[in-house]
């Protein structure tokens, strides 16, 4: 994702809309110029298929790329390399 002010708020805002809880979160810049960051999150939700929520995250403009894994319970997912 773009390393800029407010980007975490954009992600958290979208997760909150879907009532998704962030179980863990780690962020760090990945390039020398610090234009981009990786974010690694473990997410859980009681009411939605997490893959739909991640598709919604992908539509955020500062998000460059997503990779994710969903546990057998589709309500828990691990999102890495945002």
């Amino acid at each position: 994702m773009r390393n800029e002010v407010g980007v975490l708020a954009r992600i958290a805002t979208r997760l909150r809309k879907f009532q998704v809880n962030i179980r863990s979160l780690d962020v760090s810049p990945i390039d020398d110029e610090e234009r981009f960051s990786d974010i690694h999150m473990v997410l859980e939700t009681k009411s939605h298929d997490i893959s739909i929520v991640i598709k919604k995250l992908e539509s955020l403009i500062p998000v460059i790329e997503t990779n994710y894994e969903v546990t057998q319970d589709k309500r828990i997912g691990t999102l890495c390399k945002l």
């Binding site: 994702m1 407010g6 708020a9 979208r14 739909i52 539509s59 403009i61 998000v63």
Partner: protein, 565 residues
């Protein structure tokens, strides 16, 4: 651009007239009205609508308009001023965290604090707003930058590496799979055509697709106009207050092809009943909408115009004579498009469906109609026969009262050669009544039709039917709308009979300027069909007695009261 100046944007306004030949600026009387006007402009023109407000209250007044554009995917750019950068975070005068406030209701937003970034950000904002799934983009500019200078870059390089307007596009072989679904024994297909058709400009491709396969096509509220309404394959509007035939057909169908729609709760009714025994195909530009509410057997992501163009080349023709026989029987039984069916009203008072029919006949379905929100909105959708795409403006997703007149203002500026009406309830009209001043000052010839019943009509209907007639705070006293309009120098008429109504419509159409008609209508005429909350489309109520008598056994009272409104 629809903008209201204020403290922090004064430097911009100090310069704006120098660009009067390039920027047409309209001063609305409230930022919300300006935002709705920009939204209406965008819906009709297909171009990006722009609204502007100052910091603090100017920006917060825009929020409802921004949310409206977001819910209905309207290409808009909202510009707000922000306090000088060193004051951000100090709770300065008229400082609000508007980027934080708008974050959940925009496609993207920018806080601009470097003057050299302005050309790139403005270019990106317009690009983001109108490409892919359209939506509102918010630009918040700190005051300082208006006093700084930078070289103007006419064609700046955009820097949005993560943005792909069409994130996924289905292959031809995926489209081919639709053939098998359409060929299955006993298949009863229905198309639900949504707003995405209009946004993609795929009206002709949709018609070709429908005619090739002879599939009944229903529209969502925002999809109205995207398919010819006189067409024999059109079966009306689906939804909570859709056409009876449409709802029965969707309920009975076993193959649903959703095109540019998002299967929201207004069209599905009770979800498990909606999805039961059905196979869903979804053609949609936003992959996040596919599978969001209904299980999708065949996902066809991509730009609708492109997907339908390829589908029209690839797929073989089909026909469904037995299915059509059933639908035609329903059309006859339930009085398809008959405005006198499913309505009971005091014969001494004007009936809204009939008034809408009069407007439709008088304008020959050629006008742009901007609706407000409430019962009239549903009757307008069902009984005005739209002849053209981009002619029906309605706050579909947000359902924001106060939308109609302002949206019509934007529509008229977008299409100066077309006749533009707004139909509004008295409650909604009063929510942005101040825009009468804008219409009058700029002589924007919008024709206003108020359905005056002294009540919040849809609220009253629900209170009558579901809350045992307890009309709690839904009745109010109106001003004399004719005198009010006259105070703005706007010609106005009041009508209590159909003869007066027709004469007023004829008079209004002759005036080269804004006009207002207030129709005295029955407050207790209910909109039917009505799919009560948590109820299947096939269990729609067609008249008061369906709901009132059957409430004990047909519908679950707890479901009705606790279900999503």
């Amino acid at each position: 651009m629809f903008g209201v100046p204020g403290g922090v944007v004064l430097p911009l306004y100090d310069k704006i007239n120098e660009y009067g030949h390039k920027i047409k600026h309209i001063l609305p009387r409230n930022e919300q009205g300006g935002g709705f006007a920009a939204d209406g402009y965008a819906r009709v023109s297909g171009k990006v609508g722009v609204a502007l407000g100052t910091s603090g209250p100017g920006a917060t007044n825009l929020m409802t308009s921004i949310a409206n554009s977001m819910m209905d995917s309207i290409p808009t750019v909202y510009i707000t001023g922000q306090v000088v950068e060193e004051f951000i975070g100090t709770d300065a005068f008229q400082e609000t965290d508007v980027i934080g406030m708008s974050m959940p209701i925009v496609k993207h937003s920018y806080l601009v604090n470097k003057v050299e970034d302005i050309p790139r950000i403005v270019k990106e904002a317009f690009y983001l707003a109108k490409t892919g799934r359209p939506g509102p983009v918010h630009i918040d500019l700190v005051k300082d930058i208006w006093f700084k200078e930078a070289m103007y870059d006419k064609d700046p390089k955009m820097d949005i590496p993560g943005y792909n307007p069409i994130p996924q596009t289905c292959s031809d072989s995926e489209i081919q799979k639709l053939d098998k679904l359409l060929e299955k024994d006993g298949v009863k297909p229905m198309i639900i055509a949504g707003h995405g058709i209009e946004l993609s400009g795929a009206e002709k491709e949709l018609q070709a697709f429908v005619e090739k396969h002879n599939i009944p096509v229903a529209n969502t509220l925002l999809g109205l106009g995207s398919f010819p309404q006189g067409h024999e394959l059109w079966v009306g509007m689906i939804g909570m207050h859709g056409d009876a035939v449409t709802n029965y057909a969707i309920h009975d169908a076993n193959l649903i092809i959703g095109i540019g729609c998002r299967f929201d709760d207004r069209i599905t009714g009770k979800m498990d009943a909606f999805t039961k025994n059905k196979t869903f195909v979804h053609i949609e530009i936003d992959p996040a909408e596919i599978g969001k509410t209904v299980p999708t057997a065949l996902a066809l992501p991509g730009d609708i115009k492109d997907v339908l163009t390829r589908a029209n080349k690839i797929l073989t023709p089909h026909s469904y004579p037995d299915w059509w026989s059933q639908i035609n029987r329903w059309k006859e039984k339930y009085g398809f498009l008959d405005f006198t069916i499913n309505t009971v009203h005091d014969p001494k008072i004007l009936s809204q469906p009939r008034l809408v029919k009069m407007l439709s006949d008088s304008t020959n379905g050629e006008a742009i109609m901007a609706s407000d929100v409430g019962r009239h909105q549903m009757w307008l959708a069902r009984f005005y026969r739209f002849k053209h795409s981009r002619s029906h403006l309605s706050s579909g997703g947000l359902g924001s009262m106060g939308y109609g007149m302002s949206a019509a203002m934007g529509a008229k500026i977008a299409a100066p050669n077309r006749e533009v009406w707004t139909v509004s309830g008295d409650g909604g009209f009063m929510m942005n009544v101040q825009e009468l001043g804008t219409l009058a000052e700029y002589k924007i010839p919008v024709k206003i039709a108020i359905m005056e019943d002294g009540a919040l009509g849809m609220v009253r209907q629900w209170q009558n039917l579901l809350f045992k007639g307890n009309l709690s705070h839904s009745v109010f006293k109106n001003p004399d709308f004719v005198k009010l309009a006259n105070a703005f120098d706007i010609p106005a008429w009041s009508a209590s009979t159909y003869e007066e109504a027709q004469e007023a419509i004829n008079n209004a159409r002759k005036v080269d300027g804004p006009t207002l008609i207030t129709f005295k209508v029955d407050p207790d005429e209910h909109v039917y069909p009505m799919v009560p909350p948590n109820t299947a489309l096939g269990d729609q109520a067609l008249k008061d007695s369906d709901l009132l008598q059957d409430i004990q056994h047909k519908y679950d009272e707890d479901d009705l009261l606790q279900g999503h409104t």
